[in-house]
Symmetry: C2
Subunit: 402 residues, 2 copies
């Protein structure tokens, strides 16, 4: 699909059929998967006590239909948690959703029409691409550098579109903290500039920040939302990366009015009250700070193990060490095609994702998705598996025709 | 919106804003609510043991991301459950979703484009209306009689549309068992005729059957899906009405190909594995048959209590006694406006829903939603509350200017 143009009118049915050919096949069981951003089972908390309480004391609540907006105690707790970032929000600003992806989907349903365009980084989060595609939008891709999304490039692109009589994009999607897949954290100056630009052009921003507390070292940048003087920024949050993905509870932070409008688009009769109650009890018991420390310590060790293994086994690969999150974004040496490496990797029983999957279109320069990147995830595998998997990756790479 | 015509192109944003004005306000705490189809807390099962097992033995599974299609054991169990209706299905035909409404939403996303039309009964299920509306479709309303959806009327309507050069609807939505709100169960002959008509015209059917096992007396009719020789019928099922709404787990039964296509439109990274495991353990322990009997016995008593109270307190109201489900659909005596009665009811501390809310458009005859019906739900209130609430309803009605 050409950037910034709407050339085809396809039905959702045909769009879904097209998407149906793009999902990667499941990996065999003996493969060490560095592909998906699964949590490490060793850090999943013991929630038995909270579940017991949820299903006895709170049974009439947890087994009944919930409220579309979310459980009041859950919304209040999330508001407090967001306030730790300096945000001026209350429970009214919080919508509980079935994971952050569900929040993104609802925002798309509220804002997007077929033929609209959205701004994404190149590369961008793998899974946001099919979600946006089901809404029939075009992508405007913007480069990233060491400070994150290059706001000046986006500004130039928008100016060019204006001069050409093209419509403005409806929203800008980014993962500013420990970006998935690039690992980059956006600088404070860039965040401020991005909000200013979006504000001036009347474009919404979606600040997707699942990894913000999965921080290993370095200072934390202010949230993009902190620079928001109006209702420009939607924040997406989740318990998936910090507590457990299986609970399927995330949130959207926006204005009270937008929360109400998004809630009308929820077709789920309210997110699961049982899992909300389990999380509320976990958080109210004051267990999250210590658990966050455990998560940080565990994934820091995983990151370090993978960084060490890569430097030892594959010194020809370059990368920037991320200060948080789940992923390393690797630049392959010349002559190695990432799609082919992913295939060869599977033969050596290691699952990686080719960088080409993280580009929503032909890239900001229109030259096509680059074939010299792969994403590897260090969260899910054990330290031993991380070592073994990088050795397998090295074998895969060395076996390829250069 | 005129039936069968697409006169306006509205953005999803504006559509959502329009919907935002139609949700009923929450009822005060001292109101006895006969409005929503909530479950009776007294029949919610004890799931503590299953949750304990789910969060210990199965912790690496239940707290991890699930599979978009659903947990394999859950899909197999649902397939077996569906086979009890004579359907020839396997786990491949089952998609696990976050409640049946979520399933309907996914089917809409797959099939519908703005300007399409869908067939619904008049009256139809309250909550399907806003879901369909967010997709920008028009409604074709069809009457119901004692045998359910009047297939001959639909056939005539389709013929008339054809002659007028209008497009065929994309799908037919119905609740054939203990219809919500009318309580009518569709006859076997009608079911067969409906599938034949839909097949001949290339229209999909959504058979939404949450109350099928909430059966009090009478024979069970064959599922609409049983007459399906191709892939005409999508079945929606749920654990909400039989086990507990709070678990938020339902299913879609369709062809393997459609299951795959619907799963790509799920933005939830798989329905909650924790609640799926709890349900699987409950079902595998063989507890569902006895629990179903308890649910049937409980709600039969609730229905009988409400029928008795109505006959005693409000003999001027007429209704057909449903043989299952959660609702009574009451015909008001001449001169009583259902919208006004709902308002007066609140003053007397009883919550009912005006029948006007159950009409998607101006009715099959185009004469507007009739104002002489209300829906009352007997599932949620206690027997004492049922008696008290009908006395309140009688006071409300008697206080109205005739």
């Amino acid at each position: 699909m050409a950037v910034g143009t709407t050339t085809e009118h396809v039905t959702l049915a045909r769009r879904a059929a097209r998407l149906a050919t793009t999902r990667p096949a499941p990996e065999p069981a003996d493969v060490i998967s560095l592909g998906s951003g699964h949590g490490f089972p060793g850090v999943f908390p013991d929630l038995t006590e909270m579940a017991q309480k949820a299903l006895t004391t709170f049974r009439p609540e947890t087994l009944q239909y919930g409220i579309a907006l979310g459980m009041p105690e859950m919304r209040s707790w999330i508001a407090g948690y967001m306030k730790e970032n300096g945000l001026d929000v209350s429970a009214d600003n919080v919508l509980v959703v079935n994971g952050a992806k569900h929040g993104l989907d609802l925002i798309c349903r509220l804002l997007l029409d077929e033929g609209d365009s959205v701004v994404v980084t190149a590369p961008t989060y793998f899974t946001c691409i099919p979600i946006f595609k089901t809404f029939g939008v075009d992508f405007i891709e913007v480069s990233q550098d060491a400070e994150g999304l290059v706001v000046s490039e986006l500004s130039d692109t928008l100016e060019r579109r204006k001069r050409a009589g093209q419509s403005m994009p409806k929203l800008i999607y980014d993962v500013p903290d420990y970006h998935n897949p690039s690992g980059v954290t956006m600088s404070s100056e860039r965040r401020e500039a991005l909000v200013e630009l979006a504000d001036a052009q009347g474009i919404y921003i979606v600040e997707d920040s699942p990894y913000r507390r999965v921080r290993f070292d370095g200072e934390q940048e202010p949230m993009v939302k902190l620079f928001d003087r109006g209702d420009t920024v939607f924040v997406l949050g989740t318990f998936s990366k910090l507590v457990a993905p299986g609970l399927r509870i995330g949130w959207v932070v926006t204005s009270k009015e937008m929360v109400a409008r998004l809630s009308y688009l929820k077709s789920d009769a309210g997110s699961c009250p049982l899992t909300q109650r389990i999380i509320v009890e976990f958080c109210k018991a004051g267990l999250l700070p210590a658990h966050t420390k455990l998560v940080q310590d565990t994934y820091r060790k995983h990151r370090d193990a993978m960084v060490d293994a890569l430097r030892r086994e594959l010194p020809e690969i370059s990368f920037t060490v991320p200060r948080g999150g789940y992923y390393l974004w690797l630049t392959l040496p010349p002559g190695i095609d990432s799609d082919k490496l992913a295939e060869r990797g599977l033969q050596e029983k290691v699952g990686i994702i080719s960088g080409t999957k993280f580009f929503a279109g032909p890239g900001p320069k229109g030259t096509g998705a680059p074939k010299n990147y792969i994403r590897v995830c260090y969260s899910h595998a054990t330290l031993e598996e991380i070592n073994e998997s990088i050795q397998r990756l090295a074998r895969a790479m060395r076996s390829m025709n250069r």
